[in-house]
């Protein structure tokens, strides 16, 4: 189960809506205890995909390294990656799966016509062959 607190959630939705119609991406920082994850900070990161960004994203490893350092300095963990699917369902596509990493929760935000619509979280496996859906709780308001 991954729970996102109001502040980081607002950051994520805003980043996704502002990046529309392109895909956005970013890192989620927080705390883990067993299967329970709580996201307390969200860090918007640049989409480094070279080419049409409406349907693709790529994270710069350097940015991820920075996010990991930021987490350490705040006494938090880098626990997840978020990205958006503009005008598309929040599912875990083959592209998402084949470029995933099993160390993190992957939250996908569906942005329909520029507005947040719904979101899902996925846990990809080591072999990048499947991703299980993870219970996602975000502030409803």
């Amino acid at each position: 189960m991954i729970q996102i607190e109001p502040n980081p959630w607002q950051t994520m939705v805003l980043h996704a809506e502002r990046t529309y119609p392109n895909e956005c991406c970013g890192a989620m920082l927080g705390r883990v205890s067993g299967d329970q994850k709580v996201v307390t900070d969200a860090v918007p990161l640049a989409n480094a995909y070279l080419g049409e960004q409406g349907e693709r994203y790529e994270l710069r490893p350097e940015d991820l390294l920075e996010a990991d350092k930021a987490a350490r300095s705040r006494g938090l963990d880098l626990i997840g990656i978020f990205h958006s699917h503009p005008d598309c369902d929040a599912y875990f596509s083959q592209t998402d799966l084949q470029n995933s990493c099993p160390w993190y929760s992957f939250v996908v935000l569906s942005i329909q016509r520029g507005k947040f619509d719904h979101a899902n979280s996925f846990l990809p496996d080591l072999e990048q062959t499947r991703a299980d859906e993870e219970e996602l709780i975000w502030p409803k308001s």
């Binding site: 994270l59 987490a71 963990d77 596509s93 592209t95 160390w103």
Partner: protein, 480 residues
């Protein structure tokens, strides 16, 4: 000693240490030391062949070892080594069609399909790779959405701008009572996702227009028409012909339905069957004429069947055959259809080569109702109520049908159905203060026009009809 920084996610394998000191002359040796010390971390970094996993990047200080000497990169012992995953993704999978396969969950879910030789694994994979556009999430869209999702269509685009109303629930079974007031798009997508989470649903919160139709439909293999009006039907048809995509057609009226497949291979299109739209108002919509709630179920399921057959490439489709269904007498009939060589869209020498203004084509003027009814010719429901209460001398005429009168009426109104009005004018006084009303105000406006043409001087239309009466005057009068 070089230092390996451990990503937070992997610290569970390093006794929560965020850095591990290692000796070793190369990156490979350093990593071997790390995995020797903490064996559980190994499978996260290396695959079964002992190679670094594709998503693992190793940095020495600020340099990616891919641009140095890979894992033979030499270490002096003062470096900081970072393990950073490479992460990317995207809504559209470039490798998706090739990579398609069924998970164990899907194999269990579709087992009754897989048992059919006509479907089988090959057919089910075709369904998974198929992209179907569904125009409308209403009467026909409801069974279509349910069954296409359940069948495992990989991607379904739903186009609808409407909101669920209680009068929809008698037939639009994809929506429930708790969905009243929600967007049909949201309500339908939730239900479809619940039936089959493997389906990707693209939501288009808009009406289909000449401006957006080609853009929306171009990404889909098949278009299924679940619309309820002529302009959109011609628009869907023409867009399908222009994009060379089959149009799975269905329509319903009262107890009768039709279905066929247009614009498929050498078959006809909708315009070959109906070159011209009917005059506006001649064919009532379901909202005006009523419809048996089950009827769209039957027709929508026929459309879903044809869609699945087109994808699988099995059986005989309805191409060139218009299937007519009469629910009241429970009969199916068929009409043969041929492509018209002179069809303006799909004929040998088409004259319609891009999308046109379909409202205009169907004779629907975009003029707002206020312009059609000059001020002074209309009266508000509250004013009618005041006149009734004061006992004013005036005539209130209800131009609806008798069966509508049985559902709801305004006390004191005289019933003269619009169709009977021309021959019953003698019952009315040309000089009397006269107010006409119907359900929503459309038919009574025609009645006002008719009376004025016949020399009535003081005749007005009650705006909003009995629906407005229920909203503003007497909520106990039911809306239908």
């Amino acid at each position: 000693m070089a230092k390996i920084l451990i990503p937070t996610a992997l610290r569970q394998f390093t006794e929560e240490k965020d850095a591990v000191d290692v000796n070793g002359g190369t990156v490979a040796e350093a990593l071997t030391q790390l995995t020797a010390q903490y064996p559980n971390i190994k499978k996260n970094l290396f695959n079964d062949q002992g190679r670094l996993r594709s998503f693992v990047n190793v940095y020495v200080n600020d340099e990616d070892i891919r641009y140095l000497d890979k894992d033979a990169t030499k270490l002096e012992g003062t470096e900081t080594i970072s393990i950073v995953p490479s992460i990317a993704g995207g809504a559209i999978g470039v490798a998706e069609p090739a990579a398609v396969s069924l998970s164990n969950e899907e194999i269990a879910r579709y087992s009754r399909h897989l048992l059919l030789p006509e479907v089988g694994m090959e057919g089910q994979l075709k369904l998974k790779q198929a992209k179907v556009a569904l125009i409308g999430a209403g009467g026909l869209g409801a069974p279509l959405g349910l069954y296409l999702a359940a069948a495992g269509i990989g991607r379904i685009g739903v186009v609808d701008f409407d909101v669920v109303d209680s009068s929809n629930l008698q037939r639009q079974v994809i929506h429930g009572t708790s969905d009243i007031g929600r967007k049909k798009l949201d309500s339908a997508a939730d239900r479809m996702r619940d039936i089959n989470p493997n389906v990707r649903i693209d939501k288009f919160d808009t009406g289909l227009t000449s401006e957006n139709a080609l853009e929306i439909l171009k990404d889909y293999d098949i278009v299924v028409d679940g619309t309820d009006n002529f302009p959109t039907r011609y628009l869907v048809n023409d867009a399908c012909v222009l994009l060379k995509k089959p149009n799975v057609y269905g329509s319903i009226f009262r107890f009768e339905g039709q279905a066929t497949v247009f614009a498929y291979e050498d078959g006809p299109c909708y315009r070959c069957l109906y070159p011209e739209p009917p005059p506006p108002g001649l064919v009532p919509s379901c909202a005006e004429g009523g419809v048996l709630g089950i009827l769209p179920g039957a027709i929508g399921v026929i459309q879903a069947t044809e869609t699945v057959k087109l994808i699988l490439g099995v059986g005989e489709t309805l191409k060139g055959r218009l299937l007519l269904y009469d629910a009241l007498n429970m009969r199916f009939r068929e009409l043969k259809l041929r492509r018209d060589r002179n069809c303006p869209v799909c004929g040998d020498h088409p004259t319609v080569t891009k999308l046109i203004d379909y409202q205009e084509f169907c004779g629907i003027r975009p003029t707002p109702p206020q312009a059609a009814a000059p001020i002074g010719d209309v009266i508000d429901v509250t004013e009618v109520k005041q006149k009734l209460d004061r006992g004013d001398s005036f005539v209130l005429i209800d131009v609806r049908e008798p069966y509508e009168y049985q559902i709801a009426r305004i006390p004191g109104a005289k019933l003269i159905p619009l169709g009977e009005l021309p021959k019953r004018l003698s019952e009315l006084d040309r000089d009397a203060d006269t107010v006409m009303h119907c359900r929503s105000g459309a038919r009574s406006q025609k009645a006002v026009d008719l009376l004025k043409q016949n020399g009535f001087k003081h005749v007005r239309n009650m705006t909003g009809g009995i629906l407005a009466w229920s909203d503003k005057v007497d909520p106990s009068v039911p809306k239908y």
